[in-house]
Symmetry: C2
Subunit: 397 residues, 2 copies
């Protein structure tokens, strides 16, 4: 373990040279290696290091938010991302990058470089993503959430895993503030929107006390309902894609929470893409249905296996009662709908918005897309607990 | 901090002599002090130490279950009881004994001796408990659960508190096994019941797959729904009473969970007393109504105050929307009904049964009381999520 310092390209190369397993992947020696900074997300520094035989991706925390150095941020976030990779990889295999090395002193992750992959959000905007990708994401959520749930493991093991991510305070604080609180507050300077075109909807959202009660119900679900280990930031920018190969990255927000949070966030990002690019409407509806069916199939597949050892389900295993199955998926759908609503609102008027809107043909279409997101978001939050099926969800979009 | 050894009376006196604050309570010097073992619960050794000025109660863990030395049990349980006292006392004041001292090496708690109090269960059986006691228990649950909830504190503080009790594995394992699992398993040797008089009901309970699905739903609620810090074992044997002074003791099972667990366990113990002693029927119904109204009033009192700083409820505070209030108390009642059902079943056919049944006039009345408990318990588990009010609950008894 090394003392922390923000790495330069040459410092990174020296660090990797001391790791035989990484050196073997790169091939040759340090004189043959090149490091290139490719930082793209908001928080961290990312380098690709290439050698004669191969390449690796290196992600290091900075003691602040990369895009806003005045915003201090604990270095530990990289550790949570690595822990997330370690804990979900047995269940999801190659649906995440392979973790080669974690340096807990440098807060540095060395992992598989997905050289031929593209970030899904950009591919979607460019119309280049292959149809059906969302089935793989649903499968990922189904396998990761079942494997880390109270149905899969004795509660002692869940407690141990939950406690690790319970300390992921800085990034959970971001979620609580930016998703679950700020967009509904009139006095929050971090909000921004197209004014005056959206003023009427923003005012309505920020003054609707019944809506706020529904948001608070989702605050309570998010914080107190620890069903499974979530990715915690599963939008289309957290997915890399190359043909049929779909990888989930950036698990630094991981925490125990309601499974519908991950599904809802991803669903909302598909909805916003369809609103920004109306020619994607039928496609995105298909993807949302595939997300859900992929999730349901993957989760049930594990639930119906006899290998689970969890304290929940101990009486009927491996049989799954049809009433309980129905109830479980309805409850996940309620959460999915509600959290999708929150994501629609916060990506449209909150601090961190999305590039999809800029793909609109013109300002008028962008305003229309954003208005639809706010109207749908508000309706999903208010009616979340009446939305029982993917059909009902699609009927609200 | 001292090295662990099971204390004898004289060893305990030497230990207390080194504590100025405890010596001041007792008065005089060690030659004037007497220690008397009063162990009564299943798990620990309890001494009362008396001096010229006063007395203290001393509770020490043994490395096994006191009543079954072949059952190993980690010493740490005393630490969890002390932590529970420390964390709830600011909210509940004198509704728990005052903690004078914790020795983390000896796993020894020194606390207020409730010399004039009686254990509620015995007082109930003897018909000596003063009417209205359950209002105080409801108030205790309301204040303790609100103060430790996501509505009262920033989530960072809840995580820190939850993580402490997340390590209370040995006693949580007892709850998971003895309450949430064993009574529904045909092959569990720890179950015992009056045979053949109860055989038909026991067989039905152990073969009813729809019931098992409902039990599993409560397993999931108990483990994954961390609403507040629970007492975790709130039956009538965990309450000491003297006139209007009602104290909750024995918090060693404390953990984060659904508030309705504590309320349901206490409710079930009142129901079983009424079944065993039918002359208490109207009285116990009154107490159950008072338990609920006391809880509701106390929880709401804190909810409507402006001092709360929790992330849940941040948008509407200190206003409480009537829809959200209704929803919240309905949901707690669902849990209360379901967990009451589990407690009725496990105290009638499980490992740890209750003395109230032995207060029945004769064997025939005892069998009748136990049959009613099993029938009501099964119905409460199955219909928990349709029981919305104390009236609906009382209608099921």
């Amino acid at each position: 373990m090394s003392a922390y310092r923000p790495l330069t390209a040459s410092g990174l190369i020296d660090t990797l040279a001391a790791l035989p397993s990484v050196s073997a992947i790169l091939g040759g020696n340090t004189a043959d290696w090149g490091a290139r900074e490719v930082s793209d997300g908001n928080l961290n520094t990312v380098f690709i290091v290439s050698g004669p035989l191969g390449s690796v991706c290196c992600k290091q925390s900075l003691p602040y938010v990369r895009v806003d150095p005045s915003w201090a941020m604990p270095l530990e976030r990289t550790l949570f991302e690595a822990r997330w990779m370690q804990h979900v990889s047995p269940a999801v295999g190659h649906q995440i990058p392979t973790l080669y090395h974690l340096d807990e002193g440098l807060f540095l992750i060395v992992m598989e470089n997905l050289a031929t992959h593209h970030v899904l959000r950009g591919a979607l905007i460019a119309g280049l993503a292959p149809a059906g990708f969302a089935a793989r994401i649903g499968e990922f959520v189904g396998h990761a959430s079942f494997a880390t749930s109270w149905r899969a493991m004795p509660f002692e093991d869940v407690h141990a895993m939950r406690d690790i991510f319970s300390r992921n305070l800085a990034l959970t604080r971001i979620t609580v503030d930016l998703i679950l609180t700020d967009p509904y507050r009139r006095d929050c300077a971090r909000n921004h929107w197209i004014s005056p075109a959206l003023d009427d909807l923003v005012t309505a959202i920020q003054q609707d006390s019944a809506l706020h009660a529904a948001v608070e119900r989702l605050q309570e679900r998010f914080l107190s309902c620890g069903q499974a280990l979530l990715h915690g930031d599963l939008h289309t920018g957290s997915v890399m894609i190359c043909g049929d190969d779909v990888r989930v990255i950036d698990g630094e927000f991981a925490l125990y929470g309601p499974i519908g949070f991950d599904l809802g966030m991803f669903t909302a990002n598909l909805i916003m893409n369809a609103y920004a690019q109306p020619e994607h409407d039928a496609w995105m509806r298909d993807e949302i249905a595939l997300l859900w069916s992929g999730f349901r199939h993957a989760y049930l597949e594990r639930w119906e296996q006899s290998g689970a050892r969890g304290d929940v389900g101990s009486l009927s295993r491996p049989t799954v009662s049809s009433a309980e199955r129905t109830r479980f998926f309805q409850q996940v759908m309620h959460d999915c709908a509600g959290f999708a609503g929150l994501e629609l609102v916060r990506r449209t008027i909150g601090f961190a918005q999305i590039a999809d809107y800029e793909a609109s043909q013109d300002r008028e279409q962008e305003v229309e897309a954003r208005r639809r997101a706010l109207i749908t978001g508000r309706a999903l939050i208010q009616r979340a607990f009446q939305i029982d099926s993917p059909e009902a969800l699609l009927g609200m979009i």
